[in-house]
């Protein structure tokens, strides 16, 4: 992901409670200590949401169970996106499953991390010329870490997780903020894949403004399309009777 500081930060006067990334020089000593403790805890307690509609789910039981016990580093499986920290996407994503991945991703609470697992999430892998398969995951949601291989073995999964833990511990795993900062770009790619009608229930732009993570690239011509659709939906008559203008 590109560097976080290069975007001019949009600030609403009313939202002073945001989680803007503060410059190193600007932070007080107490703030730095607290951030350090928080990062330390984040790195040692990771709840993983497995998204295993592709292949490769079979590599996870050995890494979670008695052979290579991932609970030693504080990782445990979680079943709902609200509670999870890591979205682990194993194997290829088809156009249909990518929609669900985006819905799931937007329901997770930041800081959240995405791991692409297997070469299919990197460049399509052996499905590189398939019409129904997503080629590069990072165009649709920000990805923190890829585990290459077809399939990656449990040792490789562990190595990937340990690298992610190290990045979180040093405060470098901030890809989730990129989704808010460059939402227009991600939405444009999603619209190119699913058509211009695509929208999700989560209001990402409002969230970005609320948490003071919005930048000049949060909104753009793709999000303008989203607002246009919302206005059309608001003007549409409700119910079959009134649509035809029968009642009165």
């Amino acid at each position: 992901m590109s560097s976080m500081t290069s975007y001019p930060i949009y600030r609403d006067p009313d939202t002073a409670i945001g989680c803007r990334t503060v410059d190193e020089q600007e932070r007080s000593l107490l703030r730095r200590v607290l951030d350090r403790i928080a990062d330390h805890c984040r790195a040692r307690s990771l709840f993983v949401l497995h998204y295993c509609t592709g292949c490769g789910a079979i590599e996870l039981p050995p890494s979670m169970t008695s052979r290579f016990d991932l609970e030693r580093v504080g990782m445990q499986p979680m079943v709902t996106p609200r509670q999870a920290d890591i979205l682990l996407i194993t194997g290829y994503l088809s156009v249909k499953t990518l929609k669900r991945v985006i819905l799931t991703y937007e329901q997770m609470q930041g800081p959240k991390y995405v791991m692409g697992f297997g070469s299919c999430t990197i460049n399509g892998g052996m499905y590189w010329n398939s019409y129904a398969t997503v080629k590069r995951l990072q165009e649709y949601i920000p990805v923190d870490m890829y585990i290459a291989g077809c399939m990656p073995r449990p040792e490789a999964i562990q190595q990937g997780f340990l690298q992610l833990i190290e990045r979180i511990d040093s405060g470098r795993a901030t890809a989730w903020q990129d989704y808010y900062r460059r939402y227009d770009w991600y939405l444009g790619n999603q619209q190119a894949m699913f058509g211009e009608q695509f929208q999700t229930p989560t209001d990402v732009i409002a969230e970005a403004r609320h948490y003071a993570l919005a930048s000049a690239e949060t909104t753009g011509r793709h999000t303008a399309l989203l607002e246009q659709q919302l206005q059309q939906a608001a003007l549409m008559p409700v119910g079959p009777g009134r649509a035809a203008g029968e009642s009165q």
Binding site: R44, S45, T65, S66, Q83, Q109
Partner: protein, 296 residues
């Protein structure tokens, strides 16, 4: 002044011991599955991480209030439990007050989950309240039996009456009530085979399904308090409490250990099976025990 310091200190001790109980629970589970398990500070890392989340979803005012109600309820329970050196509010409220207070967390959760409008959450909370109707019956009978046997509802006096040797413990004086109580607290902790309302593989952790970040952190905190208070109530009722922490803590850990160790070999019952089981076996055993106490 002494009371004020006790009111501050008792929840803190409860939280610390509760974290150790959570750690023991996860370690035992790991050992049964031949894993190594989490490190020492893992429960604390989990809670701090959840409180350190940077974004947060709230589903409305009731959702916010319910979390506070949960935590307030479990902290209040710890204030009414006499521990070595500190009596807190236990001389002002007896075991009956305590049983009322122990229902507050479940009711608070029901109010909050209702506002989340998640079907998994609604199913989960309806199961939780149904399970409560199941385990409260044998638990109340067992508590009533103990209260009749010692002629008091004051927990400190019940524990004091059991001093003077292992054979004076409620476990050996009223064995039937102790067995029924053990099954009831096992269901109260929501462990398999009575884990009907969490059920991660079936209804995605039920009531917790929409709880994220700080709310989930509060629930984790609540769980450590709950392990402590449920274990301590059983220790006071049937294991004679303890004159000092060194005597009390091993008993407390043993009670929770029995529950946790049994958990790992069971699958999950259906809701109606849980109710049927709870109203048949523990209730029957508890009624027999109550009859023996009354005849004596």
């Amino acid at each position: 002044m002494k009371l004020l310091s006790e009111l501050l200190l008792m929840p803190l001790i409860a939280f610390g011991v509760g974290l150790l109980l959570v750690l023991m629970m996860r370690k035992v589970r790991a050992r049964v599955e031949r894993r190594i398990g989490p490190p020492l500070l893992q429960p604390l890392y989990d809670i701090l991480k959840l409180y350190g989340k940077k974004t947060q979803i709230s589903h409305g005012v009731m959702h916010d209030i319910s979390v506070m109600m949960l935590l307030g309820g479990v902290i209040c329970v710890t204030l009414f439990l006499p521990v070595p050196g500190m009596s807190g509010l236990s001389d002002r409220g007896d075991i009956i007050t305590l049983m009322y207070l122990m229902m507050v967390p479940s009711l608070g959760m029901a109010l909050g989950v209702g506002q989340c409008a998640n079907p998994n959450g609604s199913i989960g909370i309806s199961r939780a309240l149904t399970a409560m109707a199941g385990y409260e019956v044998p638990f109340v009978i067992a508590v009533a039996g103990v209260a009749i046997a010692y002629g008091t509802t004051d927990l400190a006096q019940i524990a004091a009456a059991q001093q003077g040797g292992v054979m004076q413990w409620g476990l050996f004086q009223q064995p039937l009530l102790a067995i029924a109580g053990l099954i009831a607290i096992h269901a109260m902790l929501g462990k398999e085979p009575f884990e009907i309302y969490v059920a991660p593989a079936e209804i995605a952790t039920g009531p917790m399904v929409e709880m994220s970040g700080k709310y989930m952190g509060t629930l984790f905190t609540m769980m450590s308090f709950q392990l402590y208070s449920v274990g301590l109530i059983y220790t006071l009722l049937f294991l004679g409490g303890g004159e000092s922490w060194l005597l009390l803590l091993p008993k407390l850990f043993a009670v929770v250990f029995v529950s946790v160790a049994v958990t790992n070999i069971f699958p999950r019952h259906r809701t109606e099976k849980v109710i049927g089981f709870m109203w048949k076996w523990p209730t029957g055993i508890a009624l027999l025990g109550l009859g023996l106490v009354m005849l004596r």
